[in-house]
Point group: C2
Chain length 459, copies 2
Amino acid sequence: MTDRLAELTRLFPDLKLSTDPGDMEHHGRDWTRRWPPSPLAIAWPASIDEVQGIVRWANQQGVAVVPSGGRTGLSGGAVAANGELVLSLDRMNRVLDFDPIDRTLTVQAGMALEAVQNAAREHGLIYPVDFAARGSCQIGGNVATNAGGIRVIRYGNTRQWIAGLKVVTGTGELLDLNRGLIKNASGYDLRHLVIGSEGTLGIVVEATLALTAPPPPSQVMLLAIPAMDALMKVFAEARHRLRLEAFEFFTDRALHHVLAHGAQRPFDDAYPFYVVSEFDAADAEAEAAGLAFFEFCLAEGWVVDGAIASSDAQAAALWRLREGITESLAPHKPYKNDVSVRISAVPAFMAEMQALLTREYPDFDVVWFGHIGDGNLHINVLKPTDIDNASFVEQCEHVTSMLVDTLARHGGSISAEHGIGLVKKPWLGSVRSEAEIALMRGIKAVWDPNGIMNPGKLL
Amino acid sequence: MTDRLAELTRLFPDLKLSTDPGDMEHHGRDWTRRWPPSPLAIAWPASIDEVQGIVRWANQQGVAVVPSGGRTGLSGGAVAANGELVLSLDRMNRVLDFDPIDRTLTVQAGMALEAVQNAAREHGLIYPVDFAARGSCQIGGNVATNAGGIRVIRYGNTRQWIAGLKVVTGTGELLDLNRGLIKNASGYDLRHLVIGSEGTLGIVVEATLALTAPPPPSQVMLLAIPAMDALMKVFAEARHRLRLEAFEFFTDRALHHVLAHGAQRPFDDAYPFYVVSEFDAADAEAEAAGLAFFEFCLAEGWVVDGAIASSDAQAAALWRLREGITESLAPHKPYKNDVSVRISAVPAFMAEMQALLTREYPDFDVVWFGHIGDGNLHINVLKPTDIDNASFVEQCEHVTSMLVDTLARHGGSISAEHGIGLVKKPWLGSVRSEAEIALMRGIKAVWDPNGIMNPGKLL
């Protein structure tokens, strides 16, 4: 133990702390695997007091702090590769309060998203943010990245569901932001500044989450789409005729990997594109609207095959085709692009990007999928086994620099929902102006004057 | 003309500028009438270039700038009483773009809310933020105050509908924030920092507004409520059974003034409290639910009389009872409280506040109304004719100081939707902690280092 850690132990004798190599390895990285973990130590505070104490100690000792949730991030935002103290929220994972009139659930930041969803359901309500990492990711990390996922089209991002937030700033001050009020016009809404700040301003320690009534029964439909330019026509039609819960797309290459990973083949034939859509189907009329939508798209030639789930098990099987993609790609160490444009720009952007990627990645397996109803595409480039990691990333980043130009022409963003972290930092300037970045740096200096909060990430 | 204004004219020969006493009087104040207007001049820029130029000139000359929209604000946020240049957005009032796929409307900041609503309707969509000042207030001011109103219960505040924002900072930099993207995880969301900042960080010059599909046909119902403690029971029942568009309450004193101002009496008898509610009634089933809700509340004794509008004209007449209140009170120079608590805290808070106001204002006419489904109450104290303005305000502020303690005990806010401006500034510390205020000041210094943007307001 270093002197600095000894001092921390002296100040907080009950604080759980580890320098065990296994812990350091495990908690020093996120789902990116690019940076070898090298933290100073891992701390598991059990209270807000301990979090504040750690931050004050870190300021005195000049130790950088990496706030650490489920570490399911894909941008390196939770990596500790430079002697940082990892501050894990794992032990702060309880429900603190439920209010049936306000319809709010107050939880500690270390609670897993799925546990939050379950707690809401126990009260007959839902917390509607949802995505595949639900079992591991934590609500504090969801806030720090403004997590999106598969229901954004209906419910928006995490931002929309945060009624209150307790945050420990970079100087160790505890802020109790908005306190669950629906209306509160009392100056800058610092809550919204913290949401999406990737742990660079402070540490989220508690959140008061707005819940809502469950949606009506829904139907899940899988569509086979013959050509890229039909995708957004199908989407426009679906949005016009149905009340959408989700509208997700993936390519034949994505289906290939998810089938190889154990999912069930949905159609006898193969098609270039697929859509999984879920929509309200409370009554016979709404169900008929779903069928009419399908038949219209079929007649137009925008859809060439389809399946409607007639049981929960079938719905789950159809969803698995989309939700299993990320896991099925993981063994191939994918280089991940997570881009967005306005939905009106999707067709032109996709065409241009496909031309670019076909030209630049002639030999790589490129897998497309994503939340196309939000203008958000995930483009995963799989690492061929005969190329080493470093040169693979180098080649991919070369293409990313070209992709960034395409994005800029279409008014898009290099990070739709993964955040900037370490991975996208070289391209922050492609989506935010110099003036914006200068303001961000200035704001960070106000919140974290000694620069100890997740340094090197984002900015 | 001073030398400073001569310099401005030299730099921008085409800039519309006035020091006419009538203009100064008219544009130097908002709907508060407490501060005698005393601006340096009024400027009406016609372009973003001119706005940037004015701000750069103001920095060089050390002139304070008050951004000015429809000046319908109730907190003094747009008052120019100290030789400021009033920067009016009146001439920047055009629609710039509509995108049917993105469902966004891009407008200049000086466009009136009602004009925005009409432009959306022309495209078969709605911009759902709405309140009585719709004809005069401007979208830039709506953003600067995060305007709320009568549909928040269904659609949220202005914040929820801002997909992109162009802002000129206190140094004259133009920011193009978020550019209409649905998903964009690329650092601090400065858009949300500007929303609600009351012109203290910069000037909103353009907004890209998200639109949505119109709601189904609705019904408007007026309910007579015999006792305060029944109000929130009726609300809970309505929220449970109906899909609410609005749930507004007012007292017999409010009805008295709105009737005196020309509205039509709804019931033969008088009752202590009233609720106007609007809810979806797309089909016979939904209409029946409305009736069942009413009959249930009647049977419980929570409601003692009611009326359902059977035509648009009747609906408008019922709404006028609520929407006409502010105008009917204006001749009485009301001292306005605009407070909020979590809705679970409303009953206890209201009881305590009523006791306080009855004790402290035995001789004043106190009028309650507001968005009770959002936990937001407007309490207007009317000025007796035999008291002068200054001592009336002084007496009211004395009571506000006590009200603030009550609010604090119930976790509430001294400003629900009017903002802090000049009027609520003495009590900012009751709702925001010292640490929060210090962060706000630090952020303001980053955006506006010379302190020229609406100085003295909010902070």
